[in-house]
């Protein structure tokens, strides 16, 4: 039997309303598999590839190159099995007649991040999906739950997935007490308690990897598995110039140089990303929080906490993902770990954003099997 699928403009992150088609990566008539990158789309925040949520043959490219389209707009038609041109025409016509850009924008936002007060401070988290053993995503130094915008929806197709803003970050309270990993792990565990989660898969990026490792150390029974992406806590080296540059930067020119080091494609660091980051850095308490964390965890450009033993204990299954060209924490820290180690060639520190498709596949397979 045949099925005509409509490929539509995805919504990456809460603020995306439209995207511009950069280039088609598949030709009409070409067979595509679920998860394949079909076209590149650019938003005011970032560019990325649209992945096919289904397999089949790309029969129509509806969106033209350089065209800007609203979220939910028709990009192309993928057909499983056989379908006549007339049948496809009918589907396209029906879709276009019913589609109103921005209509139901409120509902389109779907689930929204929530806030909860835990031990006297506000923590923001974003929950999507249902079922299975929950997966919790922990961002890195200076990041927030939006660091997972290309991962969260895909991962949530198969289970409940929660991303949080650590204290000092995003829209969580900015005040830190000690500014150490135990404090951050305490918040993570308090959130699990609040959400009634006895055990979770943890996926951490950079400093969030160290938080995940430390949480597994403090409360091993609460952690089902660990996925560590460009993770801290696995070796002494860290790019001190980056940290200092990021902390000190007060304007977009000063901020650009450190941020560019995070990505393999420097063009991703655009005006909007710089402005969003400056807005975060200007908030009262952020500067203190970042300096406190950097002093505790990464003093003088050296990582102060070694959590390799948590991996080597082999109490939890561990997946380690690293960009080979990570300029913040060297991929060499993955050597000799009792873990499934995946080095993504050419990728940099923000590998979960830049190589979202590969990272999603690795994460899905890993949590599925544990």
């Amino acid at each position: 039997m045949s099925q005509i699928h409509t490929l539509t403009m995805p919504k990456w992150g809460l603020s995306m309303t439209e995207g511009r088609v950069d280039a088609w990566l598949k030709e009409p008539g070409q067979a595509i598999n679920k998860g394949d990158e079909v076209l590149d789309v650019e938003t005011d925040k970032i560019s990325s590839s649209v992945e096919a949520p289904f397999s089949g043959v790309l029969r129509r490219q509806i969106a033209r190159q350089d065209e800007t389209l609203a979220v939910g707009a028709l990009l192309g038609i993928v057909v499983e099995g056989d379908a006549s041109e007339a049948e496809i025409d009918a589907v396209v016509e029906q879709f276009q007649a019913a589609f109103v850009p921005g209509a139901g924008a409120e509902e389109d936002l779907g689930p929204k991040p929530q806030k909860v007060e835990l031990d006297g401070r506000v923590i923001r988290y974003f929950e999507r999906g249902a079922g299975g053993i929950p997966l919790v995503l922990v961002h890195g130094f200076g990041g927030d739950l939006n660091n997972w915008l290309f991962n969260h929806p895909v991962l949530a197709a198969e289970r409940r997935v929660i991303a949080l803003d650590l204290p000092g970050h995003g829209e969580s309270s900015k005040q830190l007490q000690r500014g150490d990993l135990d404090e951050l792990s305490g918040v993570l565990l308090a959130l699990l308690d609040h959400l009634d989660i006895a055990q979770a898969h943890l996926a951490g990026h950079s400093m969030g990897g160290a938080v995940s490792l430390n949480t597994a150390r403090l409360a091993p029974q609460r952690v089902r598995s660990l996925s560590l992406i460009g993770s801290a806590g696995l070796g002494p080296e860290i790019n001190g110039d980056y940290l200092q540059g990021f902390i000190e930067a007060g304007n977009r020119n000063a901020l650009k140089a450190p941020l560019v080091q995070l990505f393999s494609n420097a063009e991703l660091v655009n005006r909007q990303m710089l402005e969003d980051m400056l807005k975060y850095k200007r908030l009262e308490g952020v500067d203190d929080a970042l300096r406190q964390l950097a002093a505790t965890l990464f003093h003088a450009g050296r990582q102060q906490v070694d959590l390799r033993a948590v991996v080597q204990d082999a109490r939890h299954p561990v997946l380690v993902i690293w960009g080979s060209h990570d300029a913040i924490i060297p991929a060499a820290h993955s050597q000799g770990l009792a873990a499934q180690v995946e080095i993504l060639p050419g990728q940099a520190h923000m590998v979960q954003m830049e190589a979202a498709e590969q990272v999603n596949r690795l994460l899905l397979d890993f949590v599925q099997s544990h």
Partner: protein
């Protein structure tokens, strides 16, 4: 967290949060409480357009209605600032500047200099600027360049609710006199504003749009007009960079020059009268320091050299509007094609 509030609410929130944080901050001016200090919400109107509404009851004794004497109360605010408190003094309309200019021009702006750097005057003068409210020639002027001309003053003119809050907090914390110009037509503008305190440093322009063909520089309300023009021009394949100065003193020269070095074309949009204005100042800056980068003459879109008209139709033509900016941009593109 960020939620949508108005420009007016953003200013009110900045005042309330800074007053809560720092007991030396207080508000004074004509009708800022409303009702001459009489109790009761009905009486506390909170300024002629309600910008300071609610503060009188939240901060007893710290929202002071003054007599209708700009010379007297602005002088009192200047004096108070030199004595270690942080007055936020409201000059209802900037058009009343003439009544108190000596206190600002010859006193507040000069103290740090005259007392060998030992005197600080942490004063904010909030004032309404701009046309569009059908308020005629004596309540509609854009006198930003008047202040910018005076060394010793810092001059701020926010274009959005986010900037209004962050720049006002910075103004209150600054140890020099700051003229904080609020465009009255922006009071109802909605935008994302974080609930938390934050401050935006002075002298840092904001890039609202990156573009390669033409640089549009403005400040205050016309930044939004420039953005409208840029969006419309984008549909015709012309890619404008839009720079919001945020503060006219200090002036972020580097950002203007950096952008013109890239685009080679400049349109300055200024709601003020054109003689000795930000428009002419920025044009001179670019002509002097980035002449080699220019591919076309500099264009200025400003009010004409007349008082603000009372007639609605004339007032609408007086204020720079998007089509006028678009025409200026197209003229530059045409010029480059011709030569």
């Amino acid at each position: 967290m960020a939620r949508k509030i108005s420009y007016q609410q953003a200013i009110n929130e900045a005042l309330a949060q800074e007053m809560r944080r720092d007991p030396s901050v207080f508000i004074m001016g004509e009708d800022v409480a409303g009702g001459a200090g009489a109790p009761g919400e009905n009486d506390a109107w909170g300024g002629v357009l309600g910008v300071t509404k609610g503060l009188y009851h939240q901060f007893p004794g710290r929202v002071l209605d003054t007599p209708l004497s700009e010379l007297g109360y602005v002088g009192a605010a200047v004096g108070a600032a030199t004595c270690g408190v942080r007055p936020v003094c409201e000059l209802m309309f900037v058009d009343f500047a003439g009544c108190c200019l000596d206190q600002i021009l010859n006193q507040a702006a000069k103290f740090r200099y005259m007392f060998g750097g030992k005197a600080a005057t942490p004063l904010v003068i909030r004032t309404m600027v701009g046309a569009g409210l059908r308020a005629a020639a004596q309540h509609s002027q854009m006198l930003t360049s008047l202040w910018t001309h005076i060394p010793g003053l810092k001059v701020v003119c926010p274009s959005s609710p986010y900037d209004a809050k962050g720049l006002l907090i910075q103004a209150i914390r600054d140890n020099d006199p700051v003229i904080f110009c609020e465009h009255k037509l922006l009071y109802s503008m909605q935008g994302d504003v974080p609930e938390e305190l934050y401050s935006i440093p002075f002298g840092e322009a904001n890039f609202l749009r990156d573009g390669k063909d033409v640089t549009l520089v403005s400040y205050g309300r016309t930044v939004n007009t420039a953005m409208d023009a840029a969006r419309s021009l984008a549909g015709r394949g012309i890619d404008c960079e839009v720079i919001d100065l945020r503060t006219t003193s200090p002036l972020d020269e580097d950002s203007i020059l950096e952008s013109v070095e890239k685009t080679g074309r400049l349109v300055v949009i200024d709601e003020a009268n054109p003689r000795c204005s930000m428009a002419t100042d920025i044009s001179a800056l670019v002509a002097q320091k980035a002449f080699g980068a220019l591919k076309a003459p500099i264009e200025m879109v400003t009010a004409p050299h007349t008082p603000v008209p009372f007639s609605d139709a004339l007032e609408d033509l007086y204020i720079p509007y998007a089509a006028k900016i678009e025409n200026a941009v197209l003229k530059l593109i045409e010029w480059s094609k011709r030569s």
